[in-house]
């Protein structure tokens, strides 16, 4: 999913090979946002967090976000934090925010000063100091059998480490009230009815071939291109990338119809087929 901003080879085939090309490249980094200066408790919680999903964090490119805590963090504390993160095999490469002294300290540690970029949506489970956009609600993910990576990667650009094949899931049994089905790395397809009080979660799209009476959350990692497809819509709640609609707001014109649900200009569109 690398996005070519400028291709150096517009002349087509057969021309001489150029010795280099400049290409735009997006990559996903983790931003470690400090709400305060790191103390013993901070390190304890950090160690705890990293242990849960060690593979997720190994060699992960990391930016330290100082925007909320530059007043409290001292250059010494920053040096200590960077050493700690590097010891844990996190590839710290930049800082964001910070005053003159902090940026100087960061440069001394070989870190670049990053501006711009935007945050991926923060999930409800994380202690959030960030104000969520009022129109969005990020449902806390139900507990998973295996530990989960916490910060969602940025939605649009390519994930760098390797391209992971999506892990789609197909369910061929009715999804009953009180049951939760999660496809946390791909699409979810249900062949059968989904009952009222049942929940479907997918990082990608959700398809339901059967009466859909439950709740569906597509694009749970923030993918705004995710869609929900229902053979017969009677859902309690529909959400894509955190933007949701409840059954109250679904008109009679789409009820029991075959529909698709997608995001357009920050609005959740429910469009019948045919």
């Amino acid at each position: 999913m690398q996005t070519d901003v400028a291709s150096g080879n517009i002349d087509g085939v057969g021309t001489t090979l150029k010795p280099f090309q400049f290409r735009g490249r997006f990559l996903t980094a983790l931003a470690l946002r400090l709400s305060t200066a790191p103390d013993a408790r901070f390190y304890e919680m950090l160690a705890d967090r990293l242990e849960k999903t060690p593979n997720f964090f190994t060699d992960a490119p990391v930016i330290i976000d100082l925007e909320q805590s530059q007043a409290e963090v001292t250059p010494e504390a920053l040096t200590e934090l960077v050493a700690d993160l590097r010891r844990r095999e996190l590839a710290v490469f930049g800082v964001q925010g910070g005053d003159e002294a902090l940026r100087a300290a960061a440069a001394g540690l070989g870190l670049i000063s990053v501006t711009g970029g935007r945050d991926a949506p923060l999930r409800g489970a994380l202690p959030s100091s960030e104000q969520k956009r009022p129109s969005r609600v990020f449902q806390e993910r139900p507990p998973m059998p295996e530990a989960q990576p916490a910060p969602a990667p940025e939605p649009e650009p390519a994930p760098i480490p390797q391209r992971v094949a999506p892990e789609n899931k197909i369910v061929t049994m009715p999804v009953r009230s009180g049951q939760t089905v999660i496809a946390d790395k791909g699409d979810l397809t249900v062949v059968g009815p989904v009952s009222s009080g049942a929940e479907l979660f997918a990082a990608g799209n959700i398809h339901v071939y059967g009466r859909m009476r439950g709740r569906a959350f597509a694009g749970i990692d923030g993918d705004e291109n995710a869609r929900i497809f229902c053979q017969s819509l009677d859902a309690e709640l529909l959400a894509i990338a955190g933007l949701y609609r409840t059954s109250d707001s679904l008109g009679a014109d789409v009820r029991h119809k075959m529909v698709q649900i997608y995001l357009e200009d920050e609005r959740l569109i429910v469009a019948p087929f045919g």
């Binding site: 049994m173 009715p174 999804v175 009953r176 009230s177 009180g178 049951q179 059968g192 009815p193 009952s195 009222s196 009080g197 049942a198 009466r211 009476r213």
Partner: protein, 272 residues
């Protein structure tokens, strides 16, 4: 091969105990050695419906805790000599049930009986979970009303995930049947109650029978006789037919004031 059948519903008051009594009496009168166990520890009712409350000395909990032998706790029915009741304790609570204890008692019963009917308590707590845990089949008792249907749906979810068969992940999952009780054809026709078809559409399991709302059910409870053995009534006939289907007979479904749901039940028979 003995079969353990749990009679469950999630919601209370839908007719689990009445149905457990009727089903076990029906199976026994068809010649099968049958025992019905009350899993509703602390709210002992089955023995009253079966009319043996004055003969309870030892109970299920005594057997689980090793205070009594199984044979001491089993009460033989006075009307059918191949029907037994294993009553529960009225003074203990559901924590007295242990998984190992339940398994041990069921294994012992499997050696002697063709059918073991487990009368589940309402709710989804320990008692209900243990009642269904070792089941081979389930009879889900539902009233034609939205909250009962939703609770039954929840139970079906638990049956397909929180039972021994589900956990072993075998091909051979619990077979669930729908028993629709307290059905009033007139109110269903008027749209006050859900239709058989509506319920089947949501629950998507094969239909075992539809028991009409009938004063005969209450009269039978009051005298402590399973509906099926008391006076001749529409409810009794409906239970007899449901039991025949549970026992493997292929009877056509007749429901007053409803289109024959044969097609629906056959459709869902495959998908569930």
């Amino acid at each position: 091969m003995s079969k353990v059948i749990v009679v469950t519903s999630g919601k209370g008051g839908v007719g689990k105990t009445t149905s457990s009594a009727a089903i076990s009496a029906g199976l026994a009168s068809r010649g099968h050695r049958t025992v019905v166990i009350d899993f509703d520890v602390g709210l002992r009712n089955l023995d009253m419906i079966m009319g043996c409350e004055r003969r309870v000395v030892f109970d299920f909990i005594n057997v689980i805790q090793g205070d009594a032998k199984l044979n001491q706790a089993l009460i033989r029915d006075r009307r059918l000599d191949n029907l037994y009741v294993l009553p529960t304790s009225q003074t203990r609570d559901k924590d007295a049930l242990t998984q190992e204890g339940v398994e041990k008692v069921l294994n012992e019963l499997r050696e002697e009986f063709d059918y073991i009917i487990c009368d589940s308590p309402a709710g989804i707590e320990r008692g209900a979970q243990l009642a269904m845990y070792y089941a081979d089949e389930a009879v889900v008792v539902t009233n034609p009303e939205v909250s009962s249907v939703r609770d039954s749906d929840r139970m079906l979810g638990l049956l397909s995930s929180k039972t021994a068969r589900a956990e072993r992940g075998e091909e051979d999952q619990i077979k669930s049947h729908l028993l629709l009780t307290r059905f009033d054809p007139k109110r269903s026709g008027d749209g006050e109650m859900m239709s058989v078809e509506d319920v089947l559409e949501i629950l998507a399991i094969p239909l075992l029978g539809v028991i009409p709302e009938s004063p005969a059910v209450l009269r039978a409870s009051n005298v402590g006789v399973p509906v099926i053995l008391n006076e001749k009534s529409r409810a009794a006939t409906a239970y007899e037919e449901a039991v025949a289907r549970l026992d493997g007979e292929d009877l056509p479904m007749k429901i007053e004031g409803e289109k024959v749901p044969g097609l629906m039940s056959r459709l869902f028979g495959r998908s569930a």
